[in-house]
């Protein structure tokens, strides 16, 4: 693997001169273009960050970035589908999508993505594809250059230490705690990605051989493999918030419940989220973070360009800028978004590396070694089945 | 209709009506005996209709009104409109368009007349009185002006009022019809010994009542 990557790097370096020229042409073509960046808009830190990116690419590349705020990434996928349906093969309305997992798998499979383009982006060379393999394999689906890594996500649980002095050490303990304290735990309704990821953790915890989750669900006996998962969910259901009759709509909605004192736990895909929410006065000071001792799921989130994007050159320039040390540093700042970098720090100049290392860690953020081990995402086909089954069981 | 001979009919004492500081009627005092038809005459805007609304208890809130109204010796002021038992006929007959002719009459009949047969009989009698036998099932809209006017009067009388107010009820009828309907109304009002107050600006209406006439404005 490592050797293979080395060869790839050599290849990239060898191809450098003409690539550089191509890139100059891309940057030139991008000047004056609009980029409609379709990205989930439910978090103000993320929105603020994207606004900052918009200003930066305007100043540097003359690109006008518009953040199309989505309630769910699927909306943008739907839009591209509608355009393909109507025969619009170019001049599409979506230039760049914030994406990963099942949405990526669906778009890639349907041929809805432009690419491969990621190798053309100069800053991709700085990405830590070795230490962070999920930058190349998205939910067990190879990215094949169709999406550019943007940030590292790591699933953590938030709890209010004023009400829960010692956090559970495993998912099983969390559920046991819920049964002992009715009404104080819930999770976002799948297919919200936080809620779905919670189900994945429960599935990994209840399954005999988690390795089968890396292969398409069709190769396994779904009913049998997931039986313990449903049993556990049904058992805890009456002890959930609102007796499990309704569920919050999203991760941030769950944070709001934690802030209001309606529940004692929340969940996030960003280890620094608790700290930044405390800093912004959106969560009580007593909120802290934990991960089960068996580890939690980590993944990478990306940006991709639809096949019919109207402004592909500018979209590439933005995708490249998002991977630049400057943009990555800003993103990791816990005073803002606090999202972990995809870059390999040892490939950065000493000064920039020092800046990364100097970033403060928030009061509620775990140290990197406390977050281990990192569990891989299951194959996306599992999630489709599990979401459907959850809806069948919990939604009628 | 407990008003025997000599019993006081409709009495107005020091009635003043104004709107927006403008006096329409100033310090009006009059009495109408049972069976008597008194007429108030005056140009448009002189407050004739407002006076009738005041007696009915349906004066618009924009108006201010002072003074006493007594009917059969009882003061009407504190009574809501529906308890005053004051019948009124307007220029428009105001037959309810969603009810048949018979149902219009039955609507006015008090609930104390019980039983389907008894109610139907009363309605039939009223129709006969108005020379409209067999018209019970008709749509009011299919009636002629004179027929409608007669139904309107019978309807008002069926509600068993203790006084009758006439708000230019003949103004929309053509001249030939007007005299006949006028006589029809006057005869029935007097037969029921109702104190009756007529407002009009047609001198002919006033002349034929044989009662007192008051000029306003």
């Amino acid at each position: 693997m490592r050797r293979c990557l080395l060869a790839l790097t050599m290849l990239l370096l060898a191809a450098q001169p003409s690539r550089a020229e191509d890139w100059q042409a891309t940057v030139a073509a991008a000047r004056g273009q609009d980029v409609y960046f379709n990205a989930w808009g439910g978090d103000e830190h993320v929105n603020d960050y994207i606004a900052w990116v918009g200003q930066a690419v305007q100043d540097r590349f003359g690109i006008k970035l518009t953040h199309v705020k989505l309630g769910d990434t699927a909306e943008a996928v739907g839009r591209v589908v509608a355009e393909k349906t109507a025969g619009r093969l170019e001049g599409g309305s979506v230039d760049l999508i914030w994406i990963n997992g099942e949405n990526f798998a669906a778009m890639k499979e349907q041929g809805l993505l432009h690419g491969p383009f990621v190798q053309d982006l100069p800053n991709f060379q700085l990405v830590d594809t070795v230490g962070k393999p999920t930058t190349l394999v998205d939910f067990a689906v190879p990215t094949d250059g169709y999406e550019a890594p943007w940030g590292m996500a790591h699933f953590v649980f938030l709890y209010d230490s004023a009400k829960v002095p010692t956090p559970p050490r495993s998912i099983a303990e969390l559920l046991a705690w819920a049964e002992a304290h009715p009404g104080r735990l819930t999770y976002p309704a799948p297919p919200d990605f936080i809620g779905s990821t919670f189900l994945k953790h429960l599935m990994i915890a209840t399954i005999a051989d988690p390795a089968i989750l890396q292969r398409p669900v069709a190769e396994a006996d779904f009913a049998k493999v997931t039986a313990p998962l449903w049993a556990a969910l049904e058992q805890v259901r009456p002890a959930l918030w609102r007796q499990g009759a309704s569920f919050p709509a999203s991760g941030p909605a769950l944070h709001q419940l934690l802030d209001d004192g309606e529940v004692d736990f929340s969940m996030a895909f960003n280890p620094a989220e608790a700290s930044s929410a405390i800093a912004a006065g959106r969560l009580p000071d007593s909120v802290r973070t934990f991960v089960p001792t068996t580890g939690s799921i980590g993944n990478t989130h990306f940006v991709a360009i639809p096949f019919n994007a109207a402004h592909q050159a500018a979209a590439k320039v933005v995708a490249d800028f998002l991977m630049s040390p400057e943009a990555q540093l800003k993103k990791q700042d816990p005073a803002g978004w606090g999202d972990s970098t995809v870059l390999a720090l040892d490939r950065l100049p000493a000064e920039q590396r020092a800046q990364f290392e100097a970033l403060p860690r928030g009061v509620a953020t775990l140290a990197p070694d406390q977050l281990k081990p990192v569990l891989p995402e299951p194959h996306p086909s599992w999630m489709t089945e599990i979401e459907a089954e959850w809806l069948r069981r919990f939604s009628s | 209709m407990a008003s025997g001979p000599g019993a006081p009919g409709l009495e107005l004492e020091h009635v003043t009506i104004s709107i927006g500081g403008r006096r329409l009627i100033e310090d009006l005092t009059m009495a109408v005996a049972p069976g008597e038809i008194a007429t108030i005459m005056g140009p448009s805007g002189s407050g004739k209709s407002s006076l009738l609304s005041f007696i009915c208890g349906t004066l618009e809130p924009d108006f201010e009104a002072l003074g006493l109204i007594r009917l059969a010796g009882v003061e009407l002021g504190p009574c809501p409109p529906e308890r005053r038992r004051v019948g009124i006929l307007f220029q428009d007959d105001l037959l309810f368009p969603h009810l048949s002719v018979g149902e219009n009459l039955e609507f006015a009949l008090p609930a104390s007349v019980r039983g389907r047969a008894a109610r139907r009989a009363k309605v039939a009698a009223a129709l006969a009185e108005a020379d409209l036998v067999g018209f019970g099932g008709r749509d009011p809209a299919s009636l002629s002006g004179g027929q409608r006017a007669r139904v309107a009067l019978m309807r008002t009388l069926l509600a068993e009022p203790r006084a009758l107010l006439l708000d230019e009820p003949f103004a929309k009828l053509d001249v030939a019809l007007r005299a006949r309907i006028r006589r029809f109304v006057y005869v029935h009002a007097q037969a029921a010994s109702l104190p009756t107050l007529l407002v009009t600006h047609d001198p002919e209406d006033a002349r034929t009542t044989g009662g007192p006439v008051l000029e306003l404005g």
């Binding site: 409609y36 379709n38 808009g41 439910g42 103000e44 929105n47 606004a51 199309v68 705020k69 309630g71 909306e75 996928v77 739907g78 839009r79 589908v81 509608a82 355009e83 349906t85 109507a86 025969g87 309305s93 979506v94 099942e102 349907q110 009715p182 309704a189 609102r242 009759a245 569920f247 919050p248 709509a249 941030p252 909605a253 709001q256 209001d260 004192g261 309606e262 006065g281 809806l391 069948r392 919990f394 009628s396 | 009915c56 349906t58 618009e60 529906e82 019948g87 009124i88 307007f90 428009d92 105001l94 309810f96 969603h98 009810l99 149902e103 609507f107 009949l109 008090p110 008002t156 509600a159």
Partner: protein, 589 residues
């Protein structure tokens, strides 16, 4: 427009012309085109959109490999988890909300018509109506959540709670929150429509007559006015029913989540990355349409039944009492509805300037403009888009409506009941049932995500309201004003502009304000046609509503509520100022 001799321009004066040589007045030539143009602009997209939804519902959508007709989407639909529960929820909340809103309206009029307080209350209804559904919904959520303001006000001194109660009306499994939200929004609408209807049926005089027969206020209203006015408000009631059954934005904020009502569930399928779900979604959109038709049919049946059963009661002679109880009940219910609507807006305002505000504090620890200062630039684009689209759609609709109404005056042919039904079509057909098909068509025309496309989509909903508001004052304006002006030798366009339009300034501006408010409140058309490129305050507010910081949500939702209110204030203030020395132009009622 050149000078047109008055005798030719005005039919009434032109009768002296021999019939054979009578030619169409010059203005009539282009004016005649406006009604068909309006109808085309208006019905075309709806019919095309419906077709574009029905075909995929039967498996035909070539771009996704659906080449031949089949029933597979319907089988898929009926196998979908939560479908039955979602449909039941939609029917229940829709019928219940409509019935309650109608009952409150009837109660309010029966107890209050003709009283001074009721007339004052009427003035409150228009602004309540102007506030977009979504803003009201978010405000209600802020009030009624278990950790919402109402609970905070009585906690812990009354309730003894340390943490919010684990129960809620909102987002609960029975849709109470959604029903309540719909009642709060639709009651003012029905009350205003009833006011408009009363004028048509001489309700005041009939009411007075019935009371002279000894009928109590409430019985008189129920027995005489209601049967007369009901046909006038039948279509508005059906519009409320259709809306309540298929609402998306309110349902997302106030409705249950697992499952939601039908329309949000369909929207979820439409935007699912699993593209095969689109067939199922299209079938769902057809089902939504069927549900609405079914509900309207059931309602109609109930109308007939009640009318028949109540017939003997109408003439039984029962006069009823003073109606004091009904009176207090009416004021209590209306008071609660009004307070909830206004309280919700107040909650939005307070949250937008709140610092830390944790449960169970009844008031924020500090008030600060930090949220506004930090996010004001976030509002700039949505506000600009909202204003532009709203104003453009309103002006366009105003032009078309005035053209249609003037043509009606010229031809002396008021449109029949059928035309009214067509006008109501966009309000009776569930939005989700034709917007998917419409989106596909707009994409094909290259109009999705463009200003033109969005303004057009808004026009579909702005136009009916504008027409309904303006038609009555326009038709009832005394024609003799114009006749006498024409007789003075003024050219026709001048008479129209300086006499008719000037006299109608107030109703025109109010109609425009209503049209603008309708545009501001549109969620689904903006979402589906704007394609995310054009964001308005409504789409922005909904994107934030489920989860983002309450301060930010409060700020956006408050802006959403205030924009139409400003339009209303202008519509009221401008004529008042313009005619401040004209007593004859004073506003009535």
């Amino acid at each position: 427009m050149r000078f047109v001799p008055a005798t030719v321009a005005h039919g009434q004066l032109g009768r002296a012309q021999p019939a054979g040589t009578a030619r169409q007045p010059v203005r009539g030539r282009w004016l005649r085109l406006i009604p068909p143009l309006t109808l085309g602009l208006f019905l075309g997209p709806i019919l095309a959109g419906l077709l574009g939804t029905i075909l995929p519902a039967f498996g035909y959508l070539p771009a996704l490999g659906g080449e031949r007709l089949s029933l597979a989407p319907w089988r898929q639909l009926f196998a979908a988890p939560g479908l039955q529960a979602a449909s039941q929820l939609s029917l229940m909340t829709g019928l219940l909300a409509t019935a309650i809103a109608l009952a409150l309206t009837i109660l309010a009029f029966a107890a209050g018509q003709g009283t001074r307080a009721f007339r004052r209350a009427r003035r409150l209804m228009a602004p309540l109506l102007a506030v977009p559904h979504l803003a009201t919904a978010i405000g209600l959520a802020f009030l009624l959540a278990p950790s919402g303001w109402l609970v905070r006000l009585i906690t812990p001194w009354l309730t003894g709670w340390q943490t919010p109660p684990d129960m809620s009306l909102l987002q609960g499994p029975y849709g109470f929150g959604l029903t309540l939200g719909l009642v709060v929004k639709e009651t003012p609408f029905l009350i205003l429509m009833t006011f408009a209807g009363l004028g048509q049926v001489h309700a005041d005089r009939h009411l007075r007559q019935a009371r002279a027969f000894g009928y109590g206020r409430i019985q008189a209203w129920l027995k005489v006015v209601l049967p007369l006015v009901y046909p006038q408000i039948r279509l508005p009631i059906y519009a409320v029913l259709a809306y309540s059954l298929s609402v998306v934005d309110m349902a997302i904020v106030l409705g249950p989540t697992t499952p939601p009502t039908l329309a949000p569930l369909i929207l979820r399928w439409f935007s699912d990355p699993d593209l095969t779900l689109r067939f199922q979604a299209a079938a769902g959109a057809c089902l939504q349409m069927l549900l609405v038709l079914l509900a309207i049919a059931a309602w109609r049946l109930a109308e007939l039944l009640i009318a028949r059963l109540a017939r003997p009661w109408l003439t039984s002679g029962g006069r009823g009492g003073s109606g004091r109880l009904g009176h207090w009940l009416a004021w209590l219910c209306l008071g609660v509805v009004t307070l909830l609507a206004i309280g919700g807006l107040f909650a939005l305002a307070v949250w937008s300037v709140a610092g830390a505000w944790r449960f169970p504090a009844a008031w924020p620890a500090e008030l600060t403009l930090a949220t506004w200062a930090r996010h004001l630039d976030l509002l700039a684009r949505p506000i600009a888009t909202t204003l532009l689209v709203g104003l453009a759609a309103t002006l366009l609709a105003l032009g078309l409506v005035l053209g249609c109404l003037e043509q009606e005056q010229v031809s002396r042919k008021p449109p029949g009941q059928g035309a009214l039904l067509l006008l109501y079509l966009p309000l009776l057909v569930p939005q989700i049932s034709f917007l998917f098909g419409l989106q596909v068509i707009l994409v094909r025309l290259g109009l999705d995500g463009t200003w033109l496309g969005l303004i057009w989509a808004h026009l579909l909903f702005v136009l009916p309201y504008l027409f309904l508001t303006l038609a009555e004052p326009y038709r009832s304006l005394d024609r003799r004003y114009e006749t006498s002006a024409l007789a003075l030798g003024k050219p026709h366009w001048q008479v129209w502009w300086r006499i008719r339009l000037a006299l109608l300034l107030r109703p025109v501006l109010i109609a425009a304000a209503i049209g603008f408010a309708v545009s501001v409140g549109q969620f689904l058309p903006t979402q589906m046609v704007g394609g995310g490129r054009l964001v308005t305050l409504t789409t922005e507010a909904l994107a934030l509503a489920n989860g983002a910081d309450r301060r930010l949500v409060g700020m956006v939702a408050l802006s959403l509520a205030v924009l139409p209110l400003v339009a209303f204030a202008v519509a009221l203030a401008l004529p008042a100022w313009r005619f401040r020395h004209r007593r004859g132009m004073a506003s009535g009622g």
